[in-house]
């Protein structure tokens, strides 16, 4: 029975809006809704191009609304965390007065019995608006727009970018071979697996041979030497993107284990300053004390379990530039 682990990934996007969507978003901060003229039609939401022909549209904006009519709708009894409202609501295609095409948005109307095709709705604006579609908190039944809380007014400058953040929790199985490698590391053993077809040996709990595309079971697992040579490395200068935890330059090294063809990629180094790391350096595995134990770890095939990384062992370096090519 495989073990499942949950991991939450956040996707923080910053989007450029361009001349048409930007104008629409800027107008939202002024509590105005803009469409764009396309021949006799007025497109809401506005597009840069004719949806049918792809022809670029002149930037001829038309204010629509303030109210609109429900073209179609569905009822959302249990909202998701991404939905605009935290209680049951309708998603509706709303044709703003003066528009030819419908805008999808939420209608806060209590129950499914209160909404129907042809219903009249108006926006409920957020008091503080940043130039996103959800500056309209939702629509409400009737002709009159509303404002939630104190109106802090329009944006001082045209809105050129918008943030979008989604956070998704994934639940994935941990391969049994990975668990076996982590377990071995708890005993300070570096587990390898030898393909029963081609005889190549792999490390880090890879439970199959990628060349023969066969699974490798426990019967073909072996203990690997805990001593090796740095074949190549990179010094990573961390960029402070969201989620980055490193602040100082650090090393990721490739380690070729003695007497094998096994290369451990992306290994941390210990007691080895980044300006001293070099190709051919001899290193030993460093195992964690119980207090230092990592979880599964092993992102990008790096250290995992009790394996913390690799430390110079005092042996003379190997002078062989061909080592550079040994990264897999």
């Amino acid at each position: 029975m495989a073990r499942f682990v949950e991991s939450t990934i956040t996707f923080p996007y910053k989007r450029s809006l361009g001349p048409v969507v930007g104008a629409f978003m800027s107008a939202l901060t002024e509590r105005r809704i803009l469409g764009i003229r396309n021949g006799d039609a007025v497109l809401v939401p506005p597009m840069e191009w004719d949806p049918a022909t792809g022809a670029e549209l002149a930037h001829e904006f038309v204010e629509v609304g303030p109210a609109g009519t429900v073209d179609s709708w569905t009822w959302v009894p249990v909202p998701s965390e991404q939905h605009p409202l935290d209680h049951a609501f309708a998603f509706a295609f709303i044709r703003m007065d003066g528009a030819t095409t419908p805008l999808l948005h939420a209608v806060d109307c209590g129950s499914a019995d209160t909404i129907s095709n042809g219903a009249r709705v108006a926006p409920r604006w957020k008091g503080t608006r940043v130039g996103r579609l959800d500056d309209i908190a939702c629509f409400v039944l009737g002709e009159e727009p509303e404002i939630d809380g104190e109106d802090t007014g329009p944006s001082d400058e045209p809105v050129g970018r918008m943030d979008y953040v989604a956070s998704i929790t994934y639940r994935n199985p941990v391969p049994l071979a990975t668990d076996r490698a982590v377990e071995a590391s708890r005993e300070n053993r570096l587990l390898g697996a030898t393909c029963p077809v081609c005889g190549r040996t792999y490390s880090g709990g890879k439970g199959y041979c990628p060349i023969d595309a066969v699974e490798i079971g426990p019967e073909d697992e072996v203990d690997l030497p805990e001593i090796g040579t740095i074949t190549n490395y990179s010094i990573v200068t961390p960029v402070q993107y969201p989620g980055q935890t490193e602040t100082e330059p650090f090393v990721r090294a490739f380690v070729l284990l003695d007497g094998t063809d096994v290369i451990l990629p992306y290994q941390p180094v210990i007691e080895l300053p980044h300006d001293e790391v070099h190709v051919g350096q001899r290193v030993n595995a460093v195992w964690a004390s119980p207090a230092e134990q990592l979880d599964d770890g092993g992102g990008m095939g790096g250290a995992y379990g009790n394996l913390l990384g690799w430390m110079p062992n005092g042996e003379s370096s190997i002078d062989d530039l061909d080592l550079l090519n040994r990264i897999f």
Partner: protein, 355 residues
């Protein structure tokens, strides 16, 4: 293999060769609500299962194209680890589509028309059980006007179902009948008493969450006839897309399906079976209407996507099922795949036997 089969053809001679590429076999994994296997493991199994009956090995494959989706897996570049399943040593010609495996097949079909290689394997794979579709799919929608609302697949399907019902193409009863026929279970009257999930959709109108993968072997020319007695020749293959935002589309129609079917030659001769990637009940009724499939055409005898919906493989399985019809003695079959909200993009593949 004869030397002539390896003679490169000129790029402008697609028409001459395009009727000489055939599906010769395919396989699918068990379709499960949640598998313990990784996507790579699923692919290892299913590629082997597709090759072995043909006495082929991975070394015989000239080109691979894999269809999968990083957002579903929750891992950037997840398709790279999937390459472990194809035995990519010595290095192989390989490609990937962030689409259903049906589009991977389309790319392989184009690639084989270059005439210099004979055997391609395509896959579609996905573990939909990893996350909540309601949260994952909005990220693939229009980033300005749809994603910020969390606009989810059920909502779009419900809005299209309303349009299809309003156009008289479906009603809640005929939708429930599709569900009962597809799953081989349930009672229409009882189903219609259930609460709405998204009005007018009830739970039976909605696809299951399924983990699984499929692999298909596509072969050109004489090699196909050497491998099997009755290859399923692809005689028409086309896909078309519509505007990304359903606000600008007529949701009671599917012009992209109609154009793709016409380009693929659906009208040239009758088909006996049609496998439609209709994840929602009303989609089957709309597609039948747009494709003008009469009662004489057997639609989704497999149960279709309403029974098993391994996203990223569902469309490729439709083509596999249509190929099974040819392998089993049939003469002409249609397979359909779709992508995007409210049937945004549609693919039609016509498979035929050759006497």
């Amino acid at each position: 293999m004869s030397d002539t089969s390896r003679t490169p053809v000129r790029p402008n001679s697609y028409d001459r060769t395009s009727d000489d590429i055939a599906v010769v076999g395919w396989a699918q994994t068990p379709m499960l609500r949640r598998t313990e296997k990784s996507e790579t493991q699923l692919l290892m199994d299913v590629i082997t299962d597709a090759l072995e009956p043909l006495s082929l090995t991975r070394a015989d494959i000239d080109f691979t194209c894999l269809g999968s989706c990083d957002y579903i897996t929750g891992q950037a570049f997840s398709f790279v680890s999937n390459l472990d399943a194809i035995g990519a040593w010595p290095p192989k010609r390989d490609s990937h589509v962030e689409m259903d495996g049906a589009w991977a097949l389309y790319e392989a079909w184009l690639r084989l028309q270059e005439g210099d290689i004979d055997i391609a394997v395509v896959t579609g794979s996905g573990r939909s059980s990893t996350g909540d579709p309601t949260l994952i799919y909005p990220m693939e929608m229009d980033p300005y006007f749809l994603a910020p609302l969390g606009a989810d697949p059920l909502t779009f399907a419900a809005l299209q179902a309303r349009a299809v019902i309003a156009a008289g193409i479906a009603d809640e009863r005929s939708m429930a009948q599709v569900a009962v026929r597809s799953r081989g279970a349930g009672d229409v009257d009882a189903l219609l008493t259930e609460d709405y999930l998204r009005e007018p959709l009830r739970r039976h109108d909605v696809p299951p969450i399924t983990d699984g993968a499929a692999a298909m072997v596509l072969v050109r020319g004489d090699r196909a006839r050497e491998l099997v007695d009755r290859p399923a020749y692809i005689t028409g293959f086309d896909h078309r897309t519509e505007c990304h935002n359903p606000s600008f589309r007529a949701l009671d129609d599917s012009p992209s399906t109609r154009i793709a079917a016409s380009a693929a030659g659906l009208g040239d001769a009758p088909v006996e079976v049609a496998e439609l990637q209709a994840a929602f009940t009303h989609e089957e009724l709309l597609l039948r209407s747009v494709l003008d499939l009469g009662d004489e055409v057997t639609v989704n005898a497999s149960g279709g996507a309403l029974k098993e919906n391994p996203i990223m493989a569902t469309g490729l399985v439709r083509i596999g099922r249509a190929a099974d019809h040819i392998f089993g003695g049939g003469s002409r079959a249609l397979a359909h795949s779709t992508s995007g909200p409210c049937l945004q993009q549609n693919l039609i593949c016509i498979l035929e036997a050759r006497s």
